[in-house]
Structures are given as C-alpha cells and as structure tokens.
C-alpha cells in the first residue's frame, strides 16, 4: 500500500515537473521568424499561400459559394468585408509583386464589379445584419457608411495601382455622397445602421476621401481635420484614452473601446493623423494586447470597460479573456506600427490555435473564415499603398 502511494506521488511529481518544463517551451513548436509572416520588400511565404487560397475562391465559384454560405449563416457583413480586405490586400500585393500585377488587378475588378452588382440588385441590406431593417435610418434616403466607405476605399485602392476610367465617376459619386452627408450632419456622424455610427466605418471612409483627393486633385483636408478634432473631443473613452467603437448620431456612446475595431482604426488613422494613430496603437497595445508564455493575443475591452461577447469580438475564452476578433485584428495594428515582437507572438498563436490547413501551396486557417484569412493577408501585405500616397507618386 505504501509502495503504491509512493509510486503515485512520484508519478504526480514527475507530471508536475514535466509540465513546468514543457509549458514555457510549447510556443517554440509554433514560433517562426517574423519574415515567414511579413516581408519587406516582397511577399512572405504565408502571404503568398494565403493569397493563393483567396484567389482560388474567385476562380472556383462553387468553392466560393460554399465559403460564403457558411459566413452568411452568421453574418452577412463578413461576406462584404471579406471582399474589401481582399481588394485592399491585392492593391498592396500589386505594389509588392509587380510581375503579378495584372492578375491582382483582374481579381480586384472581378470583386468590385460583383459587389456593386449585388448592391444594386439586392439593395444595401444584402450586406447588412438583419437588425438594419428593424428601424428606419434617421437620415433619408437611407445609406450605410459601412458599405459606402469600404466600396469607396476598394475603388480608390484599385485606381491607385492603375487608372480605370470606368471607376473614376463611381468613386467620385460615392465620395461626394459621403462628403455631402458629413457636411449636412450636425455632428459629422453618419449611420452604418439606423442611428448607429461606427468609428471603424468613419475612419475607412475618411481614408477613401484622402485617396480620392490624391487621385482626383480634390481637397477635403479641412473636412478631415474637422472630423479628427471632433473625434478627439467627443469620441474618446476618458479612462483608457481609446476611441470608442460605436455611437448614435448625436454622439452618445453605444459601445466603448473594442479590440475588434481599434486596431483597424489605428491603421486607418495613420493616413489621417499619424501621431494620433500611433498614440491609439500604443494605448491599445497596453490595454488590450498580451503575450503569455510566448503566445500573443488580444482582449476585446480594456479592464476599465465591461462588455459582453458579440458578433465582432467572437467567442471570448474565459480566464485569459482572449477575443478571436480582437486578436485577429491586432495583426493589422502590429503590422502597421512595425511591432515585430507582438506580431511574431500573434503569428505563433495563430499557428498554435488557428488550425492551419495547407493544400497545393494554398493556406487557410480552419479556425478562421474567408474574411478572417483576408484580414490576415491584409496584415501581411499592408504598407506600400499608404506609402505610395505619402510619397505622392501618381499611378
């Protein structure tokens, strides 16, 4: 009996010692050099593999249909955002990989044309969540800045790579509509859903305006400055100093600072107000970003804000409070601000818990979906488009 007890205790002690040795080493199984995820210049191996899978979805309609059906069962927005992130990625890839530029442009045009056709044919609600129909938009005729901003940025990104005359009036029309509504709005806050405005959508739309100014020699710098001043004054959470993610048309906060929004917001702000963008990234990194035992991840809310898991945050893993949505978008923030340590640790987590699946040189993450993979591709390729605008090189 004593010998049995002794054996069990020795066994348990061995298990504890083994766990103490193994757990800090676990990340080494999944850690890769940063260049595996992001390379400057050129395309990293992961970017190429993710892109190959995304391009395959646009050459095989049956496969695309299957992927979209799964995403639309949860959220029709993902169908739309998957298109936006892929177009923005392809624009950056065209600058990183000039020999493949024509293939990328062809796919960008295919995506843009199909998106515009669906918007025209099915109406704007096709890409919105069902609750958009539950109330009336305060400003009539109804427009969603979510759609207008992202479509405008898709059109502008495409034209930044190579002019396409057919897209010029489409972009001008979309930009004029956004600018007109911003000028008419007493607080410069536009709806994405009925009386629901999103920081993410405003920042994307302002980037599109900035790109359109560059492309078509217009000047909306005063409007952008005015909007930034308003946001800093009215839309910052006083405790964390982070921009809140959603608000009503009179500026009442709906949701506080959210990881699924702020990382992309900081990225977009880089074109609008570089110092403020860096400030927001650094605050988000401090409040939301974590590295534990070599694995990087992000929370959805700062400690000072209590929130419930939602469609944007994805399921929250209790204990560590890991948000899939925030962790995925953190790649974009870390990549934008060249935070190599955080980016590498996020990539380690992705290979550990994202369940990569490779076939024929194509990569997808099973724990992700098409929009998630497209956002990762964007994080792995972003940079050249913004740099081109800043450098002032015309297409």
């Amino acid at each position: 009996m004593q010998s049995r007890m002794k054996r069990i205790l020795t066994g348990l002690a061995a298990l504890v010692i083994a766990a103490i040795i193994w757990l800090p080493c676990l990340h080494l199984l999944f850690a890769r050099p940063l260049s595996a995820f992001r390379q400057d210049p050129g395309l990293s191996p992961k970017a190429s593999q993710l892109a190959a899978r995304q391009l395959q979805l646009w050459t095989e309609p049956a496969l695309r249909e299957q992927e979209l059906k799964k995403m639309r069962a949860s959220n029709a927005e993902w169908d739309f955002m998957g298109r936006s992130y892929l177009v923005w990625s392809l624009a950056n890839m065209a600058l990183r990989d000039p020999p493949s530029k024509q293939l990328y442009l062809q796919t960008m045009d295919q995506i843009i044309d199909e998106t515009l056709r669906l918007e025209k044919q099915e109406g704007m609600y096709f890409f919105l969540m069902p609750y958009a129909k539950e109330r009336h938009y305060l400003v009539q005729p109804a427009h969603s800045l979510f759609l207008d901003g992202e479509i405008a940025l898709m059109l502008a990104s495409r034209r930044m790579i190579e002019e396409k005359p057919e897209y010029k009036p489409l972009l001008t029309e979309r930009i004029n509509a956004i600018v007109g509504r911003l000028q008419k709005s007493p607080r410069m806050m536009l709806e994405s859903y009925p009386d629901e405005c999103w920081m993410f959508d405003h920042c994307v739309a302002l980037d599109a305006i900035k790109l359109a100014d560059y492309l078509d020699d217009s000047d909306h710098s005063a409007l952008i400055r005015g909007w930034m001043a308003m946001a800093k004054q009215k839309l910052v959470d006083p405790k964390s100093g982070l921009l809140i993610s959603s608000f009503t048309t009179d500026g009442t906060p709906l949701a506080g600072p959210e990881g699924s929004s702020i990382w992309m917001v900081a990225h977009c702000l880089q074109l609008l107000d570089e110092d403020f963008a860096r400030d927001q990234y650094q605050r988000a990194r401090k409040e939301l970003g974590e590295i534990t035992l070599g694995f990087g991840y992000a929370h959805e809310w700062p400690k000072s804000w209590k929130g419930e898991a939602n469609i944007d945050s994805g399921p929250i893993i209790p204990g560590f409070e890991i948000s899939a949505g925030s962790s995925g978008m953190a790649f974009i923030g870390a990549s934008t601000f060249s935070d190599g340590k955080f980016l590498r640790s996020l990539a380690t987590t992705l290979d550990f818990a994202g369940f990569p699946s490779r076939t024929g040189g194509r990569l997808k993450y099973c724990a992700s979906n098409q929009v998630g993979d497209a956002a990762l591709l964007y994080a792995a390729t972003l940079g050249p488009l913004w740099q081109k605008l800043k450098a002032g090189t015309k297409p």
Binding site: L15, A18, L26, L29, M71, N75, W78, G314
Partner: protein, 106 residues
C-alpha cells in the same frame, strides 16, 4: 508461437497507474485518437471558434460538438502528450538512479 504473440502485445497490456509505461500508454492512446479525428477531417469544424458554422448541412449543434472533440484532442496532443512522455522519461531516469544508489550502498 502463442507465447511470442502475447509477448508482442506487452506494450499494450495494462500497466500500473502512473508508472512510466502507463504514462506512455496514455500518450499513445491520445495520439491515436487525435490522428483518427484529424484524418476524419474534424479540423474543418474549428471555424466555430470565430462564430462561423463548420458545415451548413451538419448544423450548429453537430458542428460545435465535432469542433469541441477536435479541439480537446488537439490540446491533449500538443500539451498533454509531451508532458506524459517527459514525465515517463523523468520517472525512468529516477528509477535507474535509485536502483544504482541502492546497489552501491553497503
């Protein structure tokens, strides 16, 4: 012939609880189970982690259940299996060390 067959099955016979062989048997069982669910394609269902259904045909409940099985076995494979193997190695080293000490003591 029969004796040889039983000797061949030695590694699979039930070992004493928390003995090195017991730990290795558990590590082996987890690895086999994980390999089975992996080859069965259950990895595809892990998309439920971001709120996307694994398969529209299978529905949410079944997709979630299959994802849970895959994730638990995967975590057991990458976290528990190395710990079990390492612990078995530590026990073997410890036992050899003790035996050596006992032999050398007067």
């Amino acid at each position: 012939m029969i004796t040889k067959f039983w000797q061949g099955l030695g590694p699979f016979r039930r070992a004493e609880f928390l003995s090195p062989r017991d730990l290795l048997q558990r590590a082996g069982a987890i690895s086999v189970l994980f390999l089975a669910v992996h080859l069965a394609g259950l990895r595809e269902f892990t998309s439920v982690l971001n709120g996307t259904i694994g398969s529209v045909a299978a529905g949410w409940k079944l997709s979630g259940f299959l994802a849970l099985i895959y994730i638990l076995l995967y975590l057991a494979f990458v976290i528990l299996v190395p710990v079990l193997v390492l612990a078995a190695t530590l026990l073997v080293v410890w036992q050899r060390f003790r035996r050596k000490k006992e032999k050398s003591s007067p």
